[in-house]
């Protein structure tokens, strides 16, 4: 990875404008005080899919930026997110720009997936959370199955 962890922590990240608007909507629906709350859920949701997200951000207009240290947290949280994103991408050497695009694409894909989850849960907080937890635990069951 050519960009250092500090570069990334201090760098700015954005997704498409539409995804950012959806992010704000989730922020209020879930009662989260910061923009990074839904954004992290979206990143996690997108990382749960094996395929790489594809998005040409420039053609869709950009949303508001968020600092890396807010989006990913600090210390071990930051290092963990970077580790998962790089492992998912399967690349060793990524520039700051490429990494920003990768994050923007995951964020975009993830927030739309979350929106589908929200609709499937009938717009109910409890059902939505239960669905996400089920999603996280299903991934674990699949992994265990594959391992056996």
């Amino acid at each position: 990875m050519s960009a250092t962890i500090l570069d990334l922590a201090r760098g700015d990240f954005r997704t498409s404008r539409a995804a950012d608007e959806l992010n704000s909507r989730f922020q209020s629906l879930l009662g989260l005080p910061h923009r990074y709350g839904p954004a992290r859920l979206a990143l996690g949701r997108s990382l749960g899919l094996a395929s790489a997200p594809v998005l040409e951000l420039n053609t869709l207009g950009l949303g508001r930026q968020i600092k890396g240290e807010q989006l990913f947290g600090q210390g071990v949280e930051l290092a963990t997110w970077l580790t998962l994103l790089l492992e998912h991408a399967g690349v060793a050497d990524v520039s700051r720009k490429d990494f920003q695009n990768l994050v923007g694409a995951h964020w975009h894909r993830g927030i739309y997936l979350l929106w589908d989850d929200w609709k499937s849960s009938g717009g109910e907080f409890d059902a939505f959370v239960a669905r996400l937890v089920q999603q996280a635990n299903r991934q674990r069951a699949k992994a265990a199955q594959a391992a056996s």
Partner: protein, 668 residues
């Protein structure tokens, strides 16, 4: 430890006085200082508080609590305390306390100086500590460090400040202690009993020590080392600032709480009998708001923390963990390989030095054999480093973090969300009830509005405090990782190893002390609750309370057979007093050692409660000093004390308590 005498000069009504307190050991452990109203009983209690804690005693001195400006009120309080006959010329107040136990003796003396116009001169404040039977004066550090030294001495040898409200008691305000701010006081006291302040100070000292040791090591001049050192210094500076901010927030809360207590007292004086329930409602509202905030914080943390990461799926996390391990193995091999190449170079040099001739072909064969023996690449050693952002300690912490995400439970998240919604409904209901009880008169309305504002400020300051403490914890985790990384770089210099080992051990013990503080409170709550239950049941004559429970936040509940908290009901002032006394007794049992001094402790109690309280406290066996009005202790009460009574001293400006000091012995 027994208090043996109080020596006063120019303190309130006492021009010069010496109160000698008879010693009766564990058998005759009760001393009564008796006096009518205005005789100076409370002044004696205040003298003890002031002498032990100086400026920090103000929040626990009932008659000094009204002002919200602590700095100013300390001066004002002292200026008001200067004996009237001593005004009009430069003078001083001095208070000395003599303590002794079987093997130790101390005298603590504080002296405050005043100008001719009666102004306190804070810069001239003096403290003297003498120890041993010969009263040898203890050498104190430089002026700037004296307050911390004295505070530590008093905490170590006598009584930590956090425990003072439970040992030095004004009976008139005991019922208020039961309903105002009890959580904060109990939590602080339990932490003090468990030694948390000492552990915190020790952790800070250890971290300072480690920082200083690391500074002694010569730094490398390469870019990586310099950048790391710069980052470390900046994190350490942030830590210092954050600790100062957390301390400042704690300090800022104190006057707000005093202000709230003052308003509640004034509302109480307007509302008569409904005072207790009105106060209870505010307390209840504050505690629900606090619980709601903390539940919501936890909910947010789970949603945008663990759940978000867990959504990435365990297959991806497992791959990441495996790669981290593989990269660690590769790094270890690289490092061993580099060391081996260097050793091979030294080997060749040694052969040449002893006159050996080595052909290029032979060198190549030797190198091949050398590599095969010492640094053959293992099969599971990967060539590509994907996680170059992870240092050695990061690898460990990221792996642990990923492993912890094994299960996320929806019911815990949903339960938290329901708790928040439930708390909102409860707050609404309490506010409706407060509105109903508030009364219609303008003064009550104005006071209630001010109270609301102060409560909001307290809630906001507490939320700030919580969030800053959480940030500080995060920062310390980063600091710890950075220090480990720095140590790794510095270890290259062989002579740095012993110094680094000491610094690392100091950091390790500091972390251990932090963990001890975090685990000590939850681990001891059940035992403490049992002791409080025992004390309460011994003193209260109502049998509805089955047990007393102390919560993690310091809140105390009186539970009936159905598990309902009867504190929510409108108890009488006397019942509140019994409740407060049971906590006092339990904490005194746990902390031990220091005498309990109570000013008019029995005035609001009925005869049966008086008997129970006297029997319970006298039976504890440690020194109990009662400052009482003659009407409080009649023949019946004195009969209860019986052989426990070491002596009765009449308090006031009688001849035996005025100059000359040598003749002013108490009457036993």
């Amino acid at each position: 430890m027994e208090l043996r005498s109080i020596i006063l000069r120019n303190w309130k009504g006492y021009r010069r006085a010496r109160v000698n307190i008879p010693s009766g050991g564990a058998v005759r452990n009760v001393v009564v200082l008796e006096g009518y109203n205005g005789a100076g009983k409370t002044s004696l209690l205040e003298a003890v508080q002031l002498c032990l804690y100086g400026r920090s005693s103000l929040p626990i001195i009932a008659r000094a609590r009204d002002s919200t400006r602590r700095e100013a009120s300390y001066d004002e309080f002292l200026e008001r305390g200067l004996n009237v006959e001593s005004r009009g010329r430069p003078e001083r107040i001095s208070i000395a306390l003599e303590f002794s136990s079987q093997d130790r003796a101390f005298t603590l003396e504080r002296i405050w100086h005043f100008s001719g116009s009666g102004r306190h001169r804070p810069q001239d404040e003096e403290v003297r500590i003498s120890v041993g039977p010969d009263n040898e004066l203890l050498e104190l550090p430089e002026a700037a460090e004296t307050p911390a030294f004295v505070r530590d001495f008093v905490a170590r040898e006598l009584l930590p400040r956090n425990l003072a409200p439970f040992f030095l008691l004004d009976g008139e305000h005991l019922d208020q202690m039961a309903v105002q701010d009890l959580e904060v006081q109990v939590k602080a006291a339990v932490e003090a009993v468990l030694g948390a302040p000492t552990l915190k100070a020790m952790a800070a000292d250890l971290r300072d020590y480690a920082r200083e040791r690391r500074k002694q090591i010569p730094r490398g001049s390469d870019r990586a080392t310099l950048a790391l050192a710069e980052e470390l210094a900046s994190l350490e500076e942030s830590e210092r600032q954050m600790v100062a901010e957390v301390d400042a927030l704690v300090e800022a809360l104190q006057p707000l709480r005093s202000e709230r207590d003052g308003i509640v007292r004034r509302i109480g004086s307007l509302h008569g009998d409904s005072y207790a329930s009105f106060k209870a409602l505010f307390e209840d509202r504050e505690s629900v708001v606090r619980a709601r905030e903390s539940t919501q914080d936890e909910l947010r943390r789970l949603l945008s923390g663990e759940l978000a990461l867990a959504l990435s799926g365990s297959a991806l996390r497992k791959r990441a963990i495996e790669r981290i391990a593989a990269e660690e193995r590769a790094e270890r091999w690289e490092s061993a390989s580099a060391a081996s190449r260097s050793k091979f170079g030294e080997f060749l040099e040694a052969v040449r030095h002893s006159g050996g001739q080595l052909e290029e072909e032979l060198i190549a064969s030797l190198r091949e054999a050398w590599d095969k023996i010492w640094s053959e690449r293992p099969e599971d050693c990967i060539a590509e480093v994907r996680f170059s952002h992870l240092g050695e300690t990061d690898r460990r912490s990221v792996t642990q973090h990923l492993e912890r995400l094994v299960s996320v439970r929806s019911d815990s998240i949903a339960e938290l969300a329901r708790e928040v919604a439930g708390a909102d409904l409860r707050i609404e209901a309490i506010e409706r009830e407060i509105g109903r009880q508030r009364g219609l008169d303008a003064e009550s309305q104005a006071l209630a509005n001010t109270l609301n504002e102060v409560q909001e400020k307290i809630a906001s300051a507490e939320a700030d405090h919580r969030s800053r403490v959480a940030e500080l914890e995060g920062l310390r985790a980063r600091l710890s990782a950075k220090r480990a990384e720095t140590d790794l770089l510095l270890t290259a210099a062989a002579d740095a190893a012993p110094v680094l080992a000491r610094a690392r051990r100091a950091d390790l013990y500091a972390d251990l002390a932090d963990r001890l503080i975090d685990t000590a409170l939850p681990a001891n709550l059940e035992g403490l609750s049992a002791v409080v239950t025992g004390a309460y049941c011994a003193m209260a004559h109502k049998s509805v309370v089955e047990r007393v429970r102390i919560r993690l936040d310091g809140g105390v509940e009186l539970l009936d057979a159905d598990g309902a908290d009867i504190r929510q009901r409108d108890a009488s002032a006397g019942e509140h007093q019994i409740f407060a006394l049971s906590i006092v007794s339990a904490l005194a049992d746990l902390a031990g050692g220091f005498p309990i001094i109570m000013d008019t402790p029995l005035a609001r109690l009925d005869p049966l409660h008086r008997r129970n309280v006297l029997e319970h406290f006298a039976g504890r066996g440690s020194q109990l000093i009662l400052l009482t009005h003659p009407a409080e202790l009649g023949p019946v009460e004195l009969g209860i004390l019986g052989d426990r009574l070491a002596g009765t001293i009449r308090v006031g400006l009688q001849p035996e308590m005025t100059p000359p000091p040598s003749a002013a012995e108490g009457v036993a």
